[in-house]
């Protein structure tokens, strides 16, 4: 009973983090693109009370107003109150099911992401991970690749040729990059010898020459670059947005409006957060803080700072959150920097370059592992 309660609390924390981060992505998208293009960005969703006695509250709301932080709320209100149109000749059931499937599988994957080390509360050791699976990595990739069903169903059930074509483009793209992304992480799995994410992160707490943190990116730089490239392809965002192509080529969700479109939109952001979480976990040491052990900081130049175990946990969770935020920022920067790939270029990149490079990476890693371990 207690275990279920603890797991549900962890699930609520994780969901809260993920939902809020994904909703904030709409704000980040507007503001970051604005800053990158020397603009100001959306700042007109303004909440202000007309009564005089509310002045202190207005004063508190001012920075939120000026930063445009209420735009996600305005978006949500707009999405919920718009007409929800189902094409009359489309499949009503599948048309409704598709966005739900997309969102559902995008959310499920987060269950296996560890956001902190174990903590001890009242003699009970709690693993800061919603589901401690031995095959967490396989599970996450299964969930990510299930997302393709929502996309294909959306294209198929709309009874619209453009939507169907968009769905087909999306499915072939996601399947192609699924293979590349699966191979890029094989190197990591071979080095650390585990599919359990918590153990993968613990193994990344060692040091090379006593001072370089032995994170995945140090051991697998090419694997990391390939993972980033293939991961962005999985999120279906620019430069890999051939399935959607909001501006001109029509994508799989043309026939969607209102909150169902919002769910697809939200799924994109969730997948971005997912890839950011995975990149953090696999290549940037997850919740590891450099030189922080369970008792405090132990710097390689001999300085030691004692930290209580509560603060150690807080530092570790903060470290995880900051790394995820960094990757979200990086993905957003890439999205607003690069132009879209042409569709044939996209598939050629996946099959002719990414896949063989990932294979070569696995091969070289295997040889080095054999050579090092004897």
């Amino acid at each position: 009973m207690e275990t279920i309660l603890i797991q549900s609390i962890l699930a609520v924390i994780m969901l809260g983090f993920v939902f809020n981060l994904a909703a904030l992505h709409t704000w980040m998208e507007r503001k970051q693109s604005a800053l990158m293009q020397d603009r100001i960005g959306a700042n007109r969703a303004w909440i202000e009370f007309p009564w005089k006695w509310m002045a202190p509250i207005n004063w508190l709301l001012r920075p939120f107003n000026a930063l445009g932080l209420f735009h996600p709320i305005a978006d949500a209100i707009k999405m919920f109150t718009k007409e929800d149109y189902i094409p009359p000749k489309g499949d009503k059931f599948l048309h409704t099911l598709a966005p739900c499937l997309s969102l559902f599988f995008a959310l499920l994957g987060f269950a296996a992401i560890p956001f902190g080390n174990t903590i001890e509360i009242g003699g009970r050791i709690i693993n800061l991970q919603v589901a401690n699976l031995n095959v967490a990595l396989l599970y996450i990739f299964a969930m990510v690749s299930m997302g393709v069903y929502g996309v294909v169903l959306a294209g198929f059930s709309s009874n619209n040729n453009y939507a169907t074509l968009g769905g087909l483009r999306a499915s072939s793209q996601m399947l192609s990059y699924e293979i590349a992304i699966g191979l890029t992480i094989m190197g990591i799995v071979m080095i650390y010898g585990s599919l359990n994410l918590q153990e993968l992160i613990r193994a990344q707490g060692n040091y090379l020459f006593g001072w370089i943190p032995l994170w995945g990116v140090v051991l697998q730089p090419i694997g990391f670059l390939l993972f980033l490239a293939a991961g962005i392809a999985e999120t279906k965002r620019i430069p890999y947005d051939a399935p959607e192509g909001e501006s001109e080529i029509v994508g799989y969700f043309v026939e969607y409006s209102g909150m169902k479109f919002g769910m697809f939109f939200f799924t994109d952001y969730l997948e971005t957060v997912m890839i950011a979480c995975l990149a953090t976990t696999l290549f940037f040491g997850g919740w590891q803080v450099p030189y922080l052990t369970q008792t405090g900081f132990e710097f390689p130049w001999g300085v030691q700072i004692a930290v209580t175990s509560l603060w150690v946990s807080i530092f570790q969770i903060l470290s995880f959150v900051l790394k995820v935020l960094f990757f979200c920022w990086l993905f957003m920067t890439i999205r607003w920097t690069l132009p879209r790939f042409r569709y044939d270029q996209l598939l050629r990149l996946g099959w002719h370059y990414m896949f063989p490079l990932a294979l070569a990476n696995v091969f070289v890693t295997a040889i080095i592992l054999l050579w090092v371990m004897g």
Partner: protein, 176 residues
């Protein structure tokens, strides 16, 4: 005679550019440079530093207006004589020259025997006007000008776009 041609060579990508990743990094370096420059400028502005350096090129329109060029053609106005009556003598020059045919003048007798006519009504349909400025050029009396600097012309109906003489004589919305 032979036709002289100039062969324009298409730039080929060199190996460094074909590798794609270095060029991606160059692009990200450029855009994130703008990002961090503007972000830090916004932060400095918030605490009152470096106000001279603009962090964005945005003009916050309704509060902050763009300075129009001196000779820009904006909404029309009718100029007045010293006694406040319109200078227009209803000669129909502007109505004749108007390519959009948006000016409608009804003439009447002027009480002063030195002046032949005056407009009984002078109406411009701004929904039709193309802002060519021919009416200003054609006017022999300098009675119509396009220098009000009013550019936010809008109405909820086509009827609302039609301006009568009173509005044209008092362009800033002051009722005569």
């Amino acid at each position: 005679m032979t036709i002289r041609t100039k062969v324009v060579e298409r730039p080929e990508l060199n190996l460094w550019e074909k590798l794609y990743f270095p060029e991606v990094f160059r692009g990200i370096f450029l855009t994130s440079g703008h990002f961090f420059r503007n972000l830090s400028l916004h932060l400095f502005h918030a605490v009152g530093l470096f106000r001279r350096v603009a962090a964005s090129v945005t003009i916050q329109y309704p509060e902050q207006k763009w300075l129009l060029p001196h000779r820009s053609r904006t909404r029309h106005r009718l100029t007045k004589r010293e006694d406040g009556s319109p200078r227009c003598v209803a000669c129909m020059m502007c109505e004749t020259v108007c390519p959009a045919r948006c000016i409608y003048i009804v003439a009447e007798e002027h009480p002063d025997p030195n002046i032949e006519k005056r407009p009984k009504s002078f109406t411009i349909d701004l929904g039709k006007c193309v802002y060519c400025g021919f009416c200003v050029e054609a006017c022999p009396e300098d009675a119509i000008r396009m220098d009000t600097k009013i550019v936010d012309i809008s109405a909820y109906s086509r009827q609302g776009m039609i301006l009568d003489m009173n509005e044209l004589l008092n362009p800033k919305g002051v009722k005569a």
